[in-house]
């Protein structure tokens, strides 16, 4: 009895796969495009390594990134201390490794907040148009009238420089990008015949926005997000470098670079390695973002 059922199940599964073949093909095709875009692959590898380092940080180093060891100040790179030690005798390698957790956390929260707010504002503005659009876009313009870092700086300084406020400040500055993008997309999508067709079927505005406009508008937002993840790190590090971001002894990469500034000439390693870490990770995100954009490009796809 159960055997028969098992066979039936299997048949059903096969049928399931059979019917979804085009979807699977589609994914395969995406995978193929991704594989053939070398730079995107390099980017992906960098980002995976970055994630891996952040997750497995404690396994990668035996030094505490915060504990001071004044006996071992300013040691050059060696097998003991791969990236040397800083003015408090802290292992720079360990600080860079743990720093990845800080950066990842910043990226993660900033992305959620800014993409969330930005997409919502953008899609509402674009879909409804008219006065709603006018008001929302003028507000966006006001935020865009500031050079980003300057606005973020003023924010963190005002809220009090620490990690949480850095995140709030960057999100506060960053959402405008997605708002503009999502709006432009929503306007484009809204006027497409297929949206009209859905409206003609009798669908509600909320349904159209959530199930049809949003999914179509989101892919450029995702590409932009990937490209901007690099910028998020750069902004966070910039704030950290100026002393307006994460505060010591948190091992934020920008702050570490700043720590090493006074020792630049003799103890180059303190600044060089965390800076290099920033550059590599940002590069990874940029390569990945470029790759995703190419892959999603309909000209390539069709």
């Amino acid at each position: 009895m159960s055997e028969v059922k098992g066979v039936a199940q299997k048949g059903r599964f096969k049928l399931f796969l059979e019917r979804r073949k085009p979807i699977i093909e589609d994914w395969k095709h995406t995978f193929y495009l991704w594989k053939s875009t070398t730079l995107a692959m390099v980017g992906t590898v960098i980002i995976f390594v970055f994630f891996g380092i952040a997750i497995f940080a404690p396994l990668l180093t035996s030094y505490d990134p915060i504990a001071q060891d004044l006996d071992n100040r300013l040691l050059p790179p060696s097998s003991q201390h791969l990236f040397g030690t800083d003015q408090y005798g802290r292992d720079v390698f360990s600080r860079v490794i743990y720093g990845s957790r800080v950066e990842l956390w910043i990226i993660f929260i900033v992305s959620i907040i800014s993409v969330g707010i930005g997409t919502l504002v953008g899609i509402i503005a674009g879909y409804f148009g008219g006065a709603v659009d006018e008001v929302l876009m003028r507000i966006t313009d006001m935020f865009l009238a500031f050079p980003r870092l300057v606005l973020a700086m003023a924010f963190t300084a005002s809220l009090g420089p620490n990690l949480t406020n850095t995140i709030i400040a960057i999100s506060f500055v960053d959402w405008t990008v997605y708002a503009r993008l999502a709006r432009a997309e929503a306007i484009k999508v809204k006027s497409q015949p297929y949206i009209e067709a859905i409206r003609g079927l009798g669908a509600k505005n909320t349904r159209i926005m959530a199930f049809h406009v949003l999914p179509m508008s989101i892919s450029p937002v995702i590409v932009q997000l990937t490209l901007r993840m690099g910028t998020i790190i750069l902004t966070a590090a910039g704030l950290g470098f100026l002393g307006l971001g994460a505060q010591p002894p948190i091992p934020e990469w920008g702050a570490i670079v700043s720590d090493g500034r006074s020792y630049l000439v003799q103890q180059w390693w303190i600044t060089t390695f965390p800076g290099l870490a920033i550059a590599i990770v940002v590069l990874g995100f940029n390569l990945l973002g470029d790759g995703i954009r190419d892959i999603l490009d309909p000209r390539l796809r069709r």
């Binding site: 003028r138 507000i139 313009d141 006001m142 935020f143 009238a145 500031f146 050079p147 980003r148 870092l149 300057v150 606005l151 700086m153 003023a154 924010f155 300084a157 005002s158 809220l159 009090g160 690099g230 750069l234 590090a237 910039g238 470098f241 100026l242 002393g243 307006l244 920008g254 670079v257 700043s258 500034r261 630049l264 000439v265 180059w268 600044t271 060089t272 800076g275 290099l276 920033i278 550059a279 590599i280 940002v282 590069l283 940029n286 390569l287 470029d290």
Partner: protein, 335 residues
Amino acid sequence: MKLGTYIVKRLFLMIIVMFGVATIVFFITHVIPADPVGAILGGNAPIELVDQMRHQLGLDKSIPLQFINYMEGIVHGDFGVSLKTNRSVLKDIIDFFPATIELAIVSMIFATIVGVVLGILSAVYRNKVIDHFSRVFSILGVSMPVFWLGLLLLLLFYYRLGWLPGGGRNSLFIFPPHITGLVLLDSVIAGDWTSFWDGLRHIILPAFVLGYASAASIARIMRASMLDVLRQDFIRTAKSKGLSKRVVIYRHAVKNALIPVVTIIGLSFGSLLSGAVLTETIFSWPGLGRYIVNALLVLDYPAVTGGTLFIAFIYSLANLIVDISYAVLDPRMRV
């Protein structure tokens, strides 16, 4: 005529936006901080001193009243007195601003020329050596943290090689003529070539560091835009007329390809001003960026307010100019 209307309309919009900008700055400097005076004076300051300071900053009034005073001040160009320098903030800005604008302009020129040229070459010689070089140049440019690049170049060219000066706008015993406040321009006007040469040596590193990211993004957009234009129908028409490749590219393609790039140049100006904050800090460049950072670090609110507002104003002005040149470049925009 139509262009005139367009400019008037954009100016009008800019005024609205500036009002919003001022509101945001007010919010940041007057509403968010729970206890600015406490932050400035520390927790143990005597109560009279705290009160005196609250009064001096106008914090003893209600928020709406503060807002009205604040807006009145802005309209009259009065940002108050800096707590740190004890001078009028506006005077400070006028002193510090030329250094920033000089740095920004030089970087912008560098970034535009390098970006546009690389972008065109990259698109025309697609997948050739120059294209690969330009793409690597671009991707590195947008990935490298400005402050880190600055420090490394300083280490190399100043400390190790000694080819270029380490910071500031002039050497110790060189006194450039003061006309507009822009060292290079003033030296040229006064014909003081020693001072010009000195100023140039000082500005090379900071301008390169500041302009690199912009050059990179301009090159990227220019390349993409060129490739896009070269695919258009009218390029095919130009070729079918028997025009040579050079004429097709430089007369027909480049001007069209520049149109979207103009926007990027405008946006770059914003990231340039952002970057200036970091670059000025690294190269001890006596500009507005460094002024704001120092003010922020000691919570000198009048200075922060004035500096931030001023930067936002300059940025908006730059964007206005970009939008107008956009309309001049693209006849389709003038409808």
